[in-house]
Symmetry: C2
Subunit: 378 residues, 2 copies
């Protein structure tokens, strides 16, 4: 599965695997794709450095990437404490009451700082980048549009390609103007932050809008047939995130959450602001229902909501409180119905892609021309 | 573009064109697809008979279909007047006030009955079927799931295949059990009644759920690349509705509405209950905003909402009251940016499909094997 972009990156298949788990990212790279490690959960640059060292040792010299969450606009001198102070008491009470109603235990003192999602703070993301540029990272992706201009310049100076996610053609054009190299067109059906335009419509719109920049199709892709569809739409590769969550290498550390993912159908997700304050697709749970209830206070804007709920999510996950337990995941969750190795999943993708292309060629009647008859000798 | 289904129907390309306009349906059929005429607006069976006569005379003996709106469950003895009586006065006032706020004139007495959408009433749909079975219709589609068992039987006795729209795999299985022949998997991005699962995810789910029944992909398809994507997902054909609305043959009778469609982007639609009481994708207008406003009374359930707003929609359309003027249309509206003939649109579809398949085959490296070298003579 070779496109101009896959050749440029030196990968065998134009499949990009986004994941918060180093073991998954490394396995995607070893299988012939490009594993992209999500950095948002690394508060400590040292921990990120250790995991990137591990990646380097487990990827056979093949390329991999890092995904950071970095707003293009800098807010000068705003600390986490400043942001915390903007959260209304009524919202804190709502979190407290919702957890109490479901009997969610408090964290032990030592666990409290383990799960803060502070990776979106620019200072944290910049510390992550310092680490990344000391490692042989080949792709830097940013989940919130293009990174600041100096970061794009620094990446290019290191020979690192920069990708940015976009949910509309308008955003994609803005990203292209910021000098990035690859646009990830993230459709409505995708897990995590997503707009309202479905992959089928969004992908060709973005391809056309940023031509000749390469585009990756994201959202709703979890099989070789869906990869063929994404590439038929003009993408030069596909970006898959949800599919890896139920692989053997995924370190979810929650059997209950894994069981929920394996059982969920495509209709069991919701696009909700409950997680970060921006619409993000995730498992529908009693937690998202509480935030989406018109009778409740409703989610705060980003980044307040993320700070407000960070500890609550940590408690829900640690104690596996089933009704509240969720995760960002796309509609493709309906297809994730067994635990398998990344390699097995990946091989299914490439085999399914081959089958889909063969079938399409037959539909188009691209059967080989019969050989010309030998001309009679003179 | 040949599949088992297209061969069975004797059409050149597995492209199904749904439209309320006989001239469009006939042109789709003449171009090599299968035109499907929407019957919901025909209150008078005589008018439908005349239009089907016209279709027969303008389709060169090639096959075409009819789309009715018929609930599988029969409600005995309920008349239109009974249903009208269930509409609350507050909702009637809201319609009145919304029209007044935008200065929408009253209809002249003679115009009043022209635009009732009563085709969803079973007695009307059955009268339509009597007409259909006297014409060489080859496909009967139903927008609200499978038609009643006796209708399926009657269609089969006439050699007519029956198709039903489904927005989820669960509905598709129910339709298959009702004995229909084709499932139209209608994704979130589609115009008209639609569920929440996007075409990219829905199509393969439905294909798998009803195998070996043939499935048509619907929603987000308006180019040859998107047709290739739909077929890559396992569909045996594609079902396109929105794309024809801006063709030269479309009898919208509203230059203002045509201009709105040509100008709209993919983000200018909304999935709203404003039209029929069930979620249907349509242009976002001041009318849909009024109904979707949490401060308003909100839409009534089907069929009440359709009856409530029928005359209002007729007035808005007749007087082309721009802010309120809308129509069911999918996210593909962003691609509809010029008025062209059905034939020109259709030829673009087939050419784009060919290009997409050729590109995919190159990505998969399906280049023809080099010829074997001639063996040296002994």
């Amino acid at each position: 599965m070779q496109t101009d972009l896959s050749r440029r990156l030196g990968i065998e298949h134009a499949i990009f695997g986004f994941t918060p788990f180093p073991a998954v990212a490394a396995a995607v790279t070893r299988a012939g794709g490009l594993g992209v490690l999500g950095a948002v959960r690394y508060t400590d640059p040292g921990a990120l450095a250790r995991d990137l060292d591990w990646m380097a040792a487990h990827t056979e010299g093949k390329p991999y990437g890092l995904d950071v969450v970095m707003p293009a606009k800098k807010v000068e001198g705003v600390t986490e404490a400043d942001v915390e102070a903007m959260i209304p008491d009524a919202h804190r009470r709502f979190v407290h009451e919702t957890l109490a109603r479901h009997g969610v235990p408090e964290l032990a003192a030592g666990d409290r700082s383990g799960w803060r999602i502070t990776g979106w703070m620019e200072e944290v993301a910049r510390a992550q980048l310092d680490v990344a540029f000391e490692h042989p990272v080949k792709l830097l992706a940013n989940a919130l549009g293009p990174p600041p201009a100096d970061v794009v310049g620094r990446a290019h100076a290191h020979g690192v390609l920069v990708a940015a996610l976009a949910g509309s053609a308008r955003h994609a054009v803005r990203h292209a103007e910021a000098g990035i190299d690859i646009v990830v067109a993230q459709g409505y059906e995708a897990g995590g932050h997503t707009g309202e335009i479905a992959t089928m419509v969004l992908t060709p719109e973005v391809v056309r809008a940023v031509d000749p920049l390469p585009v990756l199709a994201a959202g709703g892709i979890g099989s070789g047939e869906q990869i063929a569809a994404g590439l038929a739409l003009g993408a030069q590769g596909v970006w898959l995130g949800s599919l890896w969550l139920t692989t053997e290498e995924a370190e979810l550390h929650s059997p209950a959450l894994t069981a929920k993912l394996l059982a969920a159908g495509s209709g069991d997700t919701v696009r909700s602001r409950a997680l970060t304050g921006k619409p993000a697709r995730q498992l529908r749970t009693a937690w998202t229902d509480a935030w989406d209830d018109p009778g409740g206070p409703g989610p705060l804007p980003m980044p307040l909501q993320g700070l407000l709920v960070a500890e609550a999510l940590s408690r829900i996950q640690k104690y596996e409180v089933e009704p509240l337990l969720g995760t960002p995941v796309g509609q493709i969750v309906g297809r994730m119905d067994s635990r398998r190795s990344v390699r097995a999943v990946f091989d299914d993708l490439t085999a399914g892609f081959e089958r889909a292309v063969t079938r399409l060629a037959r539909i188009a009647d691209h059967t080989p021309e019969p050989l010309p008859r030998p001309r009679p000798l003179p």
